[in-house]
């Protein structure tokens, strides 16, 4: 009891759980955003309209080749401070930066979601799409009713990997002053002496976030995999 209090003394006065909660919120919001946008992109990339295919391809290639850090810092310096984009009125500095971080993370991650989905679409046997077309379904119906449901079940694992990468990528939001885990850690390291202990606590925190996600979704992917 005594010893524990002394060892974890340095946590006093810091909102550790609050910071990790921000990390979780960043992850969840941008995961939802990127899932929607990424699915749309994947639809564009396999669709019949050449312009949309070109747009999807260009988007994915451009975003994948720019560092996330550049995108997030641009969201703050460029979008907010230069162009005064606030994404919905009001809000103080902190709230605006949070929204911008979510936007940047979602836009960035969508490129990877799109590619994961596309690889999933490739695992669906040709006969499925042919049968769907033989029934007279249109492209959107083929995609929505036949191909995507199967593709999603095939890519749970890749998407889990994207989600875990996203969880870790939320730390980049520290670069624009969103008080999430990495930001708090930097603060604490500057103020407190227990460097190794602080790092260990934060490393443990991230393992607690990523490990169950991986285990859970790994289990889900086995559960929902299309048996062929």
């Amino acid at each position: 009891m005594e010893a524990r209090e002394i060892v974890f003394d340095f946590l006093e006065g810091y909102d550790l759980l609050g910071a990790f909660w921000v990390t979780v919120k960043l992850t969840v919001y941008s995961a939802l955003g990127s899932l929607i946008w990424g699915t749309l992109l994947a639809g564009m990339r396999v669709g019949p309209v050449p312009l949309m295919r070109g747009f999807g391809t260009a988007y994915v290639n451009i975003i994948r080749n720019i560092p996330l850090t550049v995108i997030i810092v641009f969201a703050s310096l460029g979008l907010f401070q230069t162009l005064q984009v606030k994404l919905g009125g009001g809000g103080d500095f902190e709230v605006i930066n949070f929204r911008l971080a979510v936007l940047a993370l979602a836009l960035y991650t969508a490129a990877f979601v799109c590619e994961a989905l596309r690889s999933g679409i490739n695992t669906v046997p040709t006969g499925q799409a042919e049968a769907a077309r033989a029934l007279g379904l249109s492209f959107t119906q083929v995609l929505r009713l036949v191909i995507l449901p199967q593709a999603f079940r095939a890519v749970v694992n890749p998407l889990a990997n994207v989600l875990i990468a996203l969880t870790k990528n939320t730390t980049v939001a520290a670069a624009i002053g969103v008080v999430e885990a990495a930001y708090l850690m930097k603060d604490m390291i500057e103020a407190e002496a227990q460097l190794i202990l602080i790092s260990a606590v934060f490393a443990f925190g991230f393992i607690c976030l990523t490990l169950p996600t991986g285990l859970l979704l790994g289990w889900v992917s086995k559960k929902v995999a299309v048996k062929r």
Binding site: R53, Q81, L83, E115, L217
Partner: protein
């Protein structure tokens, strides 16, 4: 018109509809572009004065961009140089027959893969500040490289492991049959073959390393390419947008070259692999005849097959169905982006 299994060959009505979609999409894009340009113009970000320095004088390039790019490349280069052998070591360590070697390698690899690079960098920076007397400039470089090495070595370890596991069992059996020792099997039989299979994934990982150097600039004030934006825009009249555009283009050019190189390696390898005359021993990961992909590691979660293994396996798994090529829209152009429809891994 590319033929696709997802939609029928288009008749007159479908063509009309597509034209309509195209027009609507163009309108949407144009509206977005108009919004961007008008708000840029409103904030005077399109004024020639703000862009002119990049085109008329070498000064911004010499003073800000080139030194920044040098630091980016330096950090990436050292990180790769150290992470590659380290990754190979741990990757092979995880395949060892000895428990005392397999376990620690596994723990180290899984641990550093589960932690954000930024956390590693911040820790490394603070540790160097506390326990060494390095000059600030060196310390930042060391910290960035250390963070990158710890993370990427563990990812590369998984690439190496998956590459070796992807070889058919017969290779090991044959090596044993002719009396090779374990080390010999690894050196003469397994590694040479799997290196070709790993190469595209390794090059893709270099892209990740290059991209991650930017973290050092944004959070640790390591003076790399991204960090040059602030002083540069301060010096040339708050031309933030212009600076970011230039910087982003440089990153893109750099990474695009690497990505293209990766997919060229992959394409070349597959082409070589599928020629009937090629030596079966050297046929690494080409079309048919592959062993099934290695089962995902049972340890620590399925997600640990992610990154690396995705990258590696993607080049090894034979397409499950034949319609990859048929389905892939505009196959020629997508193939240059690598991965033949498989995701390219990021951090």
């Amino acid at each position: 018109m590319t033929t696709s299994v997802l939609f029928d060959a288009q008749g007159p009505r479908a063509k009309q509809r597509n034209v309509l979609y195209t027009v609507v999409f163009v309108a949407a894009l144009a509206a977005a572009a108009w919004w961007v340009f008008s708000s840029l113009a409103e904030k005077h970000q399109l004024d020639w004065v703000k862009w002119e320095p990049f085109f008329t004088s070498p000064q911004p390039w010499e003073t800000y961009i080139w030194p920044g790019l040098q630091n980016t490349l330096k950090a990436a280069f050292f990180a790769l140089l150290i992470a590659l052998p380290l990754g190979a070591l741990f990757g092979i360590g995880r395949l060892s027959d000895h428990r005392w070697m397999r376990m620690p390698s596994g723990v180290v690899v899984e641990f550093f893969r589960a932690i954000p690079v930024l956390i590693l960098m911040i820790t490394a920076n603070a540790a160097y500040a506390e326990f060494t007397t390095l000059a600030t400039e060196d310390r930042l470089l060391y910290a960035v490289v250390t963070g990158l090495v710890l993370y990427n070595a563990s990812v590369l370890a998984e690439i190496v492991r998956a590459g070796i596991l992807s070889l058919p069992r017969g290779q090991t059996d044959a090596a044993k049959a002719i009396g090779m020792r374990k080390g010999q099997t690894m050196r003469y039989v397994l590694l040479p073959q799997s290196v070709t299979a790993m190469l595209p994934a390794i090059v893709s990982q270099i892209v990740v390393i290059v991209k991650d150097t930017a973290l050092g600039g944004a959070v640790l004030t390591f003076p790399e390419l991204l960090a040059s934006v602030r002083p540069m825009s301060a010096n040339y009249g708050a031309n933030t947008i212009a600076c970011f555009t230039i910087i982003a283009l440089i990153y893109m050019a750099l990474n695009f070259a690497l990505t293209s190189f990766a997919s060229w390696l992959e394409g070349g390898r597959q082409a070589r692999g599928s020629t009937p005359t090629s030596d079966p021993l050297l046929r690494c990961g080409g079309g048919g005849g592959r062993a099934p992909p290695p089962p995902p590691p049972a340890t620590f979660a399925g997600h640990l097959t992610r990154a690396s293994t995705v990258g590696c396996i993607r080049s090894v798994i034979p397409p499950r169905t034949t319609h990859v090529a048929a389905l892939s829209p505009s196959s020629p152009s997508t193939s240059t982006t690598g991965a033949g429809g498989f995701p390219q891994w990021t951090r």
